[in-house]
């Protein structure tokens, strides 16, 4: 039985930058434990000598000419921003006051 503890859920939510509530922590812990148990079966069949597949249709060296082409204007790029200033995205302080 996999150990999906509330502490682990809080840690993972922190990594994923989602401020989960305590109720969610409890719920996710039990749901994820069930899911992880069921998906863990992949470990049984994945032996050393099998090569992993990350790309279903392998392609290599996908290049284009190094030529500048039209892209989004600054205005378009900022059009979805909650806050902007002087042509830049505006956010809250990056570092804590302390």
């Amino acid at each position: 039985m996999t150990e999906i503890t509330p502490e682990l859920v809080r840690h993972l939510a922190g990594l994923a930058r989602i401020e989960v509530t305590e109720a969610e922590v409890a719920q996710f812990a039990s749901q994820l434990a069930l899911i992880v148990d069921s998906v863990a079966t992949v470990k049984a069949v994945a032996s050393q000598d099998i090569v992993a597949t990350s790309h279903p249709i392998p392609m290599s060296n996908v290049f284009r000419e190094d030529v500048v082409t039209p892209s989004l204007t600054q205005k378009e790029a900022l059009s979805g921003a909650a806050d902007s200033d002087s042509g830049r995205f505006k956010v809250s302080a990056i570092l804590d006051e302390e």
């Binding site: 930058r17 989602i18 989960v20 998906v39 470990k43 099998i50 090569v51 996908v62 909650a82 302080a93």
Partner: protein, 499 residues
């Protein structure tokens, strides 16, 4: 109403012969949307003015005798995870409520180039995670065959729109079955092309190695014409196939299955499938055999790990893809109380903006990718992918196409699968392997299950790049079944009462 049940290819032909104008057709379509959508909730956004102005442009060009693309003037619906300039694109999520993209997805550009008026954006499970649209932040869509049931997902908006004559056809996306499963439970046709056949640029990414855009239609020829319209190499998508896969429209004109070897996948038959579903599936096979096809049995033992592998790979890729929804450049921004760092704003925003299934999968994906677990979970799942491709390659030595019921059951009731997340995942048992392997798959209707009179879909699979085989067999099966029934699948649908 008879007009609106016609296929896209029939409508295209009527438009060419000037038996109807695109404005008339589009207006009739919009009127039906206004009538049905408040109840069925297929559309999140209806673009009345845009559609009519696009329709008028086509009519004007046609009047001047200009040469037009095959589907010009036929209106179409677009799943709301495809970016459309100037038109809200939500991905079924609160975190993108009201987001207006500054760019068009490549497939949207192609729809515009084919001069198909855009009716609107259809509902989906949030970020395409789900099989019922119950995970949409904007309410579920309903199944026109039975309004107490779901139309499948994640593309339930598109499937319910096409099945209730609110659109002749639609574009959807399929990551684990999101086009094919809704097609099966709504009696429509849905195709997931070979990975890379259609550009993913502008498709809000869920699982980048699994996603593919494809057609949602009422018949095989329409799907063929639409796939031809949207497919093709795109320099903006680095996984886009450099070569063309040929004309699906030509393939759909095929009239013979003599000598076609059809492989029944052993692992996708038997007890896990609703009796009525298996019955209709087997009847469809009998029809094909009577027409000269050969049945062989194939086995893909690695399929028993497919769901497990998928629910590791997809959440892992999703956790990475959804990291961009961070309140900074677009979408929702929630400011927590007091002085908050941007990190706190991100966390508060994502907490408020994502629904429970999305959060669950992001956390699961984060776990699968985290240090100490990466090899055991994500790494192992990637190896299962290799095994699945190997099993399929072996199967395709014995058969030209593979076949299975598209789904284990017919449409389920709203709320029926909400208790246990695993129960919902099992809907995709037959559709997932195609996404893991990158091969194309088609679901087409093969009848109504005896127990509940609800649509059943059969799924065909072909090797990568051999999408044409799907259209060849699909076209013939459809013709044979319609002859057997003396009607089309949609003619069996009960009358819709929405008042």
């Amino acid at each position: 109403m008879e007009l609106l049940s016609k296929s896209a290819s029939e409508l295209a032909s009527m438009l060419v012969k000037k038996e109807i104008s695109s404005v008339e057709l589009t207006k009739a379509q919009l009127d039906n949307i206004d009538k049905l959508n408040p109840k069925i909730n297929s559309y999140l956004t209806v673009t009345h003015e845009l559609a009519l102005s696009q329709a008028k442009q086509v009519d004007d060009q046609r009047a001047k005798g200009e040469s037009l693309p095959a589907l010009a003037g036929v209106p179409i619906a677009v799943k709301d995870n495809l970016a459309t300039i100037g038109i809200a694109t939500t991905a079924g999520s609160k975190i993108l409520q009201g987001w207006v993209p500054p760019y068009d997805a490549t497939v949207v550009k192609k729809i515009l180039a084919n001069k198909m008026p855009m009716l609107g954006k259809t509902n989906l499970d949030e970020f395409a995670m789900g099989s019922s649209t119950e995970n949409s932040a904007y309410g579920p869509s309903l199944n026109p065959w039975d309004l107490t049931r779901t139309p499948g997902g994640s593309g339930g908006g598109s499937s319910s729109a096409v099945a209730s004559m609110q659109a002749p056809l639609a574009i959807g996306s399929d990551t684990g079955g999101s086009i094919r499963f809704p097609a099966a439970v709504t009696g429509t046709v849905g195709v997931k092309p070979t990975y890379g056949a259609v550009s993913r640029y502008g498709l809000i990414a869920l699982g980048s190695s699994l996603d593919q855009v494809g057609p949602v239609t009422r018949n095989v020829m329409d799907a063929a014409m639409l796939q031809d319209a949207i497919a093709g190499h795109d320099p903006m998508d680095a996984t886009s196939l450099p070569e063309s896969l040929g004309s699906m429209t030509e393939a759909a004109k095929n009239d013979s299955v003599k000598g076609l070897r059809i492989g029944i996948i052993k692992e996708l038959t038997g007890e896990g499938f609703q009796k009525g579903v298996s019955e209709k599936f087997n009847e469809a096979l009998e029809v094909l055999v009577a027409a000269g096809a050969e049945i062989v049995e194939v086995s893909c033992p690695s399929f028993q790990y497919a769901i497990a592998a998928y629910y590791l790979i997809q959440p892992a890729e999703a956790s990475s893809n959804l990291a961009r929804f961070d309140s900074v450049r677009f979408g929702l921004r929630v400011m927590p109380e007091g002085a908050a760092t941007v990190e706190k704003v991100m966390s508060a925003t994502r907490e408020a903006g994502f629904g429970p299934e999305v959060k669950r999968r992001i956390i699961l994906g984060t776990y699968a990718l985290s240090s100490g677990y990466y090899d055991a979970y994500y790494g192992s799942a990637q190896k299962v992918r290799t095994l699945i491709q190997a099993d399929l390659a072996k199967a395709f030595e014995k058969a030209d196409v593979l076949v299975s019921p598209t789904a284990p059951t017919t449409a389920f009731k709203l709320g029926e699968k909400q208790e246990d997340p695993l129960a919902m995942y099992l809907n995709d048992i037959a559709t997932i392997p195609a996404n893991l392997a990158g091969i194309p798959g088609m679901s087409l209707p093969v009848g109504l299950a005896k127990e509940d009179n609800l649509p059943v879909g059969a799924q065909f699979l072909a090797p990568a790049r051999e999408d044409a085989r799907l259209y060849k067999v699909g076209a013939v099966l459809e013709k044979l079944l319609e002859a057997k029934w003396s009607k089309k699948m949609m003619d069996f649908a009960p009358e819709l009462k929405v008042n």
